[in-house]
């Protein structure tokens, strides 16, 4: 079976500074992978390379066996690669509902239509509400995104990614900046994701990582240090040195 996502020998440098060094990574269908590493390890850069926000200097990215290295971000998204951003990237001046309808519209090509009213297609609205329901956002559907508290905005960020019906989902610190009293909701959502979707999560909170991930990849200075099951990673002396040893073993700080 072809892997959902395959990264082969990916390299990227900013000027003389290599930020991604010969990274290989494979996500099987339904994978639950965590990507960890100290600050500045190049985790977000790697996500940007995979989604096409950045172009690699060398190496390949394959989505369901198809080489997508030269494709634009949008073309990759249309093939089922979705992401959330570490810092919210939402349509702040629009309602939550419109944020979702727009995503569904672009996914299905409805947005090519210039003549029909945006609200005329009931199936789009129904689906948008379905997604909002699963994230307990229905009551906020008609509120502007910028009027929501940050924690709820983070949920909208995830709702948009889910509305893309992705086959591979990259979550860049989904609970970052959310007070711990609200972060459990986000983590519950992440835990309850469709088992068919391959998920890669970047997270600093080791509790979350060990609870969620079945496999962990450790990135240090742009290169993969090691990868393995949570138990293997926890007992890996090298990892403890460079990463876990830095702060206390449990409950590392959010980025």
């Amino acid at each position: 079976m072809t892997a959902a996502l395959q990264v082969e020998g990916l390299n990227r440098a900013f000027g003389a500074l290599p930020v991604t060094r010969d990274v290989n990574l494979t996500l099987e269908r339904g994978a639950r992978r965590a990507l960890i590493g100290p600050n500045g390890a190049g985790k977000t850069t790697l996500v940007n390379l995979i989604t096409g926000a950045l172009k690699p200097n060398s190496g390949r990215v394959l989505l369901n066996g198809e080489d997508i290295t030269t494709l634009s971000q949008a073309a990759r998204a249309r093939r089922g690669l979705a992401r959330t951003f570490q810092i919210n990237q939402l349509f702040r001046g629009l309602t939550v509902l419109e944020n979702l309808c727009m995503t569904i519209g672009e996914r299905d090509g409805n947005c090519n239509n210039m003549w029909r009213s945006a609200g005329a297609k009931r199936s789009v609205i129904d689906e948008a509400i379905d997604h909002l329901e699963s994230l307990q956002l229905v009551d906020d559907a008609l509120k502007l995104v910028r009027e929501l508290p940050y924690g709820r905005q983070r949920l909208v960020e995830i709702a948009i990614a889910l509305a893309q019906k992705p086959r591979v989902l990259l979550l860049d610190e989904p609970a970052a900046g959310v007070p711990s009293s609200e972060s459990h909701l986000i983590l519950d959502v992440v835990a309850a994701l469709d088992p068919d979707i391959a998920v890669l999560i970047i997270e600093h909170d080791m509790d979350v990582v060990f609870r969620f991930a079945r496999e962990i990849t450790v990135l240090v200075q742009g290169a993969v240090l090691t990868h393995g099951t949570p138990a293997e990673i926890m007992n890996n002396a090298q990892v403890r040195d460079v990463y876990l040893g830095q702060d206390s073993h449990r409950g590392g700080q959010h980025g």
Binding site: A77, R78, C111
Partner: protein
């Protein structure tokens, strides 16, 4: 959540999105006023036509600036292309039929919009501002270079056009042309309104609000921008064509930076991304310009400048935005 309240949430959501698309009674107001002006100021119809033409020009800019968030200082390029399409057709090719002239102008301006947009819309912000400005200047200079064809800055004077629909002839007071321009504006407005509230229009708003997110959800951003830029160019071209037809002459000044800047000022003054901002802005600007220039032929621009300063200080979202804020304020006071 039980099923009935669930259903209600869905109904509310659908209603919310559909409601914006429906015509509101207040929307009839600008049109009623435009018709009333025809009867109240029969001797000001030439000026009235110019105002309506600027409304159409500002409306085309609203599509790209107000909805898609494209900043341009070269929108006069398309107005000029449209103006010269009918001007040259009438002067050099003896193509004097006005309505087919509008279509020709739309096609020519749209074509130039498509080609320049395809290249320029990879850029944003200041870079785009400079490039659009340069495009308009280049077109103007091309016209100047071939003044044997374009007539240069002396223009193409004394153009004649066939009677409208073969029946209604041009009259000295511009009555026919006022109604003609108003009818064309109504048709154009209907198209623009449909586009703005369509899923495509929503996607444009998305590009304005957050282009990074649009890329991430798979939107073909460049294609969307080029599409709307082409449409806006075509509409600006129609406005330019009407300008030539109503004035019966055209000179290269239609490409002026002044013209690009003026239409942007009008739109911002009226309110961007609101459809009727174009109406209000163009009317307020043109009427004040007319008034001030009669008041003081030398210093009239001072009045315009002062008005702009006041708008920037007190009405950031334009005059229409000011009305909206006032409406909100009073409805909230009523509630409490």
């Amino acid at each position: 959540m039980d099923t009935t309240s669930r259903e209600r949430a869905r109904e509310r959501a659908a209603e919310y999105l559909l409601r914006r698309h429906r015509f509101r009674p207040a929307e009839a107001l600008p049109w009623l006023i435009a018709i009333a002006v025809y009867f109240i100021f029969p001797d000001r119809m030439t000026f009235g036509s110019q105002v309506l033409i600027m409304v159409m020009f500002a409306l085309s800019l609203d599509l790209i600036l107000g909805y898609a968030g494209i900043v341009t200082l070269g929108h006069a390029a398309f107005f000029g292309i449209g103006a010269y399409t009918v001007g040259l057709a009438a002067a050099r090719l003896h193509w004097n039929e006005p309505i087919s002239g509008l279509f020709a102008a739309a096609i020519m301006a749209g074509l130039v919009g498509f080609i320049t947009g395809w290249f320029l819309l990879r850029y944003r912000g200041l870079t785009l501002l400079m490039l659009t400005l340069a495009t308009a200047i280049m077109l103007q200079e091309t016209g100047n270079l071939r003044s044997d064809i374009s007539g240069g800055y002396d223009g193409l004077p004394g153009l004649t056009f066939d009677p409208l629909l073969g029946k209604f002839d041009y009259d000295l007071y511009g009555h026919t042309y006022y109604l003609y321009v108003l009818a064309v504006l109504a048709v154009v407005f209907y198209f623009v309104r449909r586009i703005v509230y369509s899923p495509f229009g929503q996607a444009l708003t998305g590009i304005r609000e957050n282009v990074r997110r649009m890329h991430a959800i798979g939107s073909p951003v460049h294609r969307r921008l080029v599409t709307v830029y082409t449409i806006a160019a075509a509409i600006a071209g129609v406005a330019g064509a009407l300008f030539t037809q109503t004035n019966a002459y055209v000179t290269l000044t239609v490409f002026d930076f002044d013209n690009s800047a003026k239409v942007m000022v009008m739109l911002i003054l009226g309110g961007t991304g609101r459809l009727y901002g174009a109406f209000l802005g163009a009317v307020v600007y043109m009427v004040l310009e007319d008034y001030f220039s009669k008041l003081s032929p030398t210093f009239w621009q001072f009045g315009i400048g002062l008005m702009l300063v006041l708008a920037v200080l007190f009405a950031r979202r334009g005059v229409l935005g000011l009305f909206e804020s006032a409406g909100q304020y009073f409805s909230e006071r009523k509630k409490s």
